[in-house]
Symmetry: C2
Subunit: 632 residues, 2 copies
């Protein structure tokens, strides 16, 4: 099989890390491998079925003339099919699958038939709407093209097939021929919803054709001058990142998925060109995101009205937009940043997003999705089987499908272990040597990780010490303690390995009360519970008798951890005793406001509580849910 | 001069109170009369000038063929001219004004010229768009018609002129002939943005023509069956109150201004028809609003994305939508509810809205406006001279202009004093007697109110004891203490009055810490400061050295009140000593989240603070502002 990495920086001069193929790592854990299996058995078939039943595939058939009818739904609905195909593409890795292969080929056939002779492909802009092609950059034609390319790249890398890739190349060529500098006889254009940038960077990597990379450069350089206009009248230039040239951006602005997808593409571009101004803009935005704009669950987007960012520290828990796609975007962007230099702070953010806002986006049974992942709810916000705007489901699906590709990378003579989950891996070093490794861990419920080398030789092993580890972690090789200081979040074991060498890493996982910046007004006087990478929440179903939104968690209340093997496929839960103010329980329901009574809050009763991983919420009876608990 | 009340329930069989003419009351205070004068000298001329410079008047000229050109701006822009004319109409009360009269007549002339032969009038639906008239109920044709009618009613009542009234009647007749029960050969229709209901009720009262009241009945009965559709694709049926038949509504839903305007019209309808199901629906919504859906400043609307209501207790202070128009709507609705039965709870809500979210909608100099009136800000939210959607400015203006009409009402042998401000009044009882009264007070800064009767005779005086009065209020007549128990918020003085009788009401105004329902999560552990009807806030400009959002106000911290004659035209301010947690001041700016430190919050420093009336905020240097203060 061909080399099938998620993002191929193998020949990128400004990326220090190189990927490992998705099919080089076989998950052997219970946590992620079960979800990846669910992806194959439930999620992908379910989405394929919905793409049919909601008319998305029929839109292609109408476009190709294979069926009578009219386009149905949103103008970006083709993208849901492409993203489904990307998920299927990655899912093939390590898992030949004739049934899935047949499904994919049938969809590719519909897509190819709908493609226009000139390469254009969008089932919305057919018939009467044909003359409106490329007239409004917010109509997602480039966005859909980007997802087509990503799907083709994944499909080609894991299957070696070219049927979808050829369609994608033809459309990409159409776009490259049309949009560009006016002095080249081309017309202005860039995408209202970024996506095509990272797609074309990958197409460049697959084909080696420089023009695709040049196009990425053009698309990024073209925006920021207000030329995209304001086609829907509702949004400002920042909504689609057209308010400032890219190199002048210093915080995330506007629609959160668009902003972070754009940064993915710009990071890809940097990895090829090494332009310092791109890198510093990316670093500024990353710092702004992680220190002023990000929810504790890794979620992005504080406002519903623009599906995007608010002001610094504006992080309302209940009306959080925190779109599942934005967390997938953050996961993808941090991966690309990690590849540039191997700094663990990026892997930390991948982990936060993955466990706490990507995973919360899908129900435990794989049949329902969240668009928003709020941190506070009254019980009304429940996952849906599908959405008219169905971007989130396939984004979860393609993440799960490609997950094995994110665990390790390599660099000169070095294997990097970024994320922990039991697996067996066959990792190819840049010099061509194949390193076999086995990993055993109960992560994220236990911080003990055991690695066994199965290949002898001299090479370095870099192990990530996650940012959530404060102290007390321990490392052994063959039972012997090793004292190392992490550098940028990694320790390096450099030796002549023998087959069967045992490395153990023990990362203590106490429950921690996390507080947030005092200007994050919504969280003032409150703590959230985390253990390792996992955020916790309290749901009504586990805490009957008192509304969880009224619970107070004193700083000195002990917290205990225990295994709940029957809950959510087996998780660790946190328990303790909280307080409830007697005045709150006795509040007259008819009063919204009243003079504060001298005794308010001074008397309280206790209530035992149980907290579950946030990602598992809303899988049982509906009711209030809270992440941030008042301390008094 | 003709009898010129704001809402004329004089002959409404199901309203117990009757209005007093706007021109029967002359404000002699410094607070409101200065603002009404500002309305004449700055606000109305300023808005007239902006209606010209932004092309709103030109839209009429283009429609009438007096000018070449095209419609500019939003499809509801005619309404801004109508609302300006309504403001001017009320402003005439007690104040003949040839200059304003000339301005008004010139605008009326433009309007009349733009009216179509069939009575239709909307400058957006001309030329090519003519064929789209009445095809989309969210295009505000009825909303604009309603404001035209309201303007005509005000203008006619205070000037006796019919030039605008005749235009309004012609358009109203067009609407009444077109929309109605299909069995009458009419077509279905009701307004996407309610307004016309209360307007037609008033037109019924002005003309005595039953068909206008029947039309109100039809418009209210026609909605709630999903027939309005979802023309913009962004909003659900609840957005324009089309999700349930009116009589089944039990909370405020959707766009806040639309919801409350609709309730105004339904209350007007009830006052004429007395249908119990209307009344109980209105009462249910009022209870929901005041106990679960209303900000402490009387503001309505928790979400920007729908400019409307959220869930119960969803009251985020910073992203409050709290549109100025919604507070004007609440003021108007509560006035109508008050007229039904003379219950002080409605007057209480009028007062809360008027002082704390209508008045905050305009700058002290009368030149800039808020669309949103949030209760928390980082310093970026500043008033604007005007908006593309400029509904709020004229809503403030028409409220100020008509304000004298809201102070008193009458009923059988009774004068009701609802709102306090120095004035002299000549009030006509239902039996035709004219009662002269003088009122002296420093309200809202002092709760002492002195009334002097200037007409001898037997009649009752009802004085409102505001809901914010807890205890210790006192009443005297000619120096003699009177002990009375308020009934529905009013005490009744019933006697044979002599001219020169002195009544004093002393309403204690301590500063109060107000807390909110514990499920209003944003306000948990916080208090707001109120004194009498006035809400307070802390602004950075008065509190240098520490971010006001970090201040803690312990329950036992003393609060003092003092006069600030040079601030905001003369206000009372509140001062005290707050705390700041040392841990908050020392927070590492680079950390958004961190493990809670054992010492967090245990050490603090003190900071003297100054609070000003909320309505006066953002009139000086920008900076953070906060209403809700943490108690510890």
């Amino acid at each position: 099989m061909a080399f099938a990495p998620v993002v191929d920086t193998t020949r990128s001069p400004f990326a220090q890390l190189r990927p490992v193929a998705v099919d080089a790592v076989t998950l052997t854990d219970t946590f992620w491998s079960a979800r990846r299996q669910l992806n194959r058995e439930v999620i992908i078939p379910g989405q394929a079925s919905l793409c049919e039943s909601t008319g998305r595939v029929d839109n292609l058939r109408v476009a190709s003339g294979r069926k009578e009818g009219q386009f149905e739904g949103w103008f970006f609905n083709d993208s849901d099919i492409y993203k489904l195909l990307e998920a299927a593409g990655w899912q093939f890795a390590g898992q030949p699958d004739p049934e899935l292969d047949a499904l994919v080929d049938s969809l590719v056939d519909e897509i190819a038939a709908a493609q226009q002779p000139d390469g254009y492909l969008n089932s919305y802009f057919m018939g009467e709407r044909e003359k409106r092609r490329w007239t409004n950059f917010d109509y997602h034609e480039m966005y859909c093209a980007g997802h087509l390319i990503q799907a083709a790249v994944a499909h080609h890398r894991t299957t070696g097939k070219r049927n979808l890739l050829d369609v994608a190349i033809k459309f990409a060529d159409h776009i490259c021929a049309r949009f560009g500098p006016e002095e080249q006889g081309k017309v202005f254009g860039t995408d209202g919803h970024p996506e095509i940038e990272m797609a074309l960077a990958e197409l460049y990597r697959v084909t080696g054709d420089q023009k695709y990379l040049d196009q990425v450069q053009y698309f990024i350089d073209a925006r920021g001058y207000g030329r995209l206009g304001n086609p829907f009248g509702r949004f400002d230039k920042a909504y689609h990142q057209d308010h400032l040239p890219f190199r002048e951006l210093n915080r995330l602005e506007g629609h959160s998925v668009r902003a972070v997808y754009l940064n993915c593409g710009a990071t890809d571009l940097y990895s090829e060109t090494g332009e310092p101004a791109l890198r510093t803009a990316l670093e500024r935005m990353w710092e702004s995101m992680t220190t002023r704009q990000m929810y504790i669950n890794g979620g992005l987007g504080s406002r519903h009205e623009n599906e995007g960012f608010g002001t610094d520290y504006e992080l309302p828990p209940g009306r959080a937009h925190t779109e599942t796609c934005a967390s997938v975007a953050s996961f993808m962007w941090n991966w690309r940043m990690l590849m540039l230099e191997g700094d663990g702070r990026f892997a930390d953010q991948m982990e936060v997003a993955l466990y706490n806002s990507v995973l919360s986006g899908i129900s435990l049974d794989g049949t329902a999705y969240y668009y928003q992942n709020p941190l506070l709810d009254d019980g009304a916000h429940r996952r849906q089987q599908w959405f008219p705007v169905a971007c989130c489901p396939s984004n979860v699906s393609r993440t799960l499908a490609s997950l094995p590709g994110y665990l390790y990378t390599v660099s000169e003579n070095t294997v990097w272990a970024h994320h922990y989950a039991s697996n067996s891996a066959s990792i190819t070093l840049p010099d061509g040597r194949s390193i076999e490794l086995a990993q055993q861990t109960q992560y994220p419920w236990d911080g003990k990780v055991s690695l066994t080398t199965q290949t002898a030789g001299q090479y370095d092993l870099k192990l990530r010490i996650p940012g959530w580890v404060r102290e007390g972690w321990a490392l052994t090789v063959n039972g012997q303690a090793i004292t190392l200081t992490p550098v940028k979040g990694y320790v390096t074991l450099s030796r002549e390995w023998r087959s069967g060498d045992q490395i153990t890493l023990d990362l203590p996982m106490p429950v921690e009360r996390i507080e947030s910046h005092p200007l994050a007004v919504d969280n003032q006087g409150r703590v959230a519970l985390m253990r390792g990478p996992v955020l916790y929440c309290l749901e009504a179903v586990d805490n009957p008798g008192v509304d969880v939104r009224l619970l107070l968690l004193p700083d000195d209340a002990p917290l205990t951890v225990s295994a709940a093997p029957d809950l959510a496929g087996g998780v660790s839960i946190v328990q303790g005793t909280a307080q409830v103010a007697a005045a709150d329980l006795a509040w007259d329901q008819a009063a919204l406001y009243r003079p504060r009574r001298p005794a308010s809050g001074s008397q309280s009763t206790t209530a035992a509580f149980k907290a579950i991983p946030y990602f598992a919420w809303a899988n049982r009876d509906p009711g209030p849910m809270v992440v941030w608990l008042r301390t008094h």
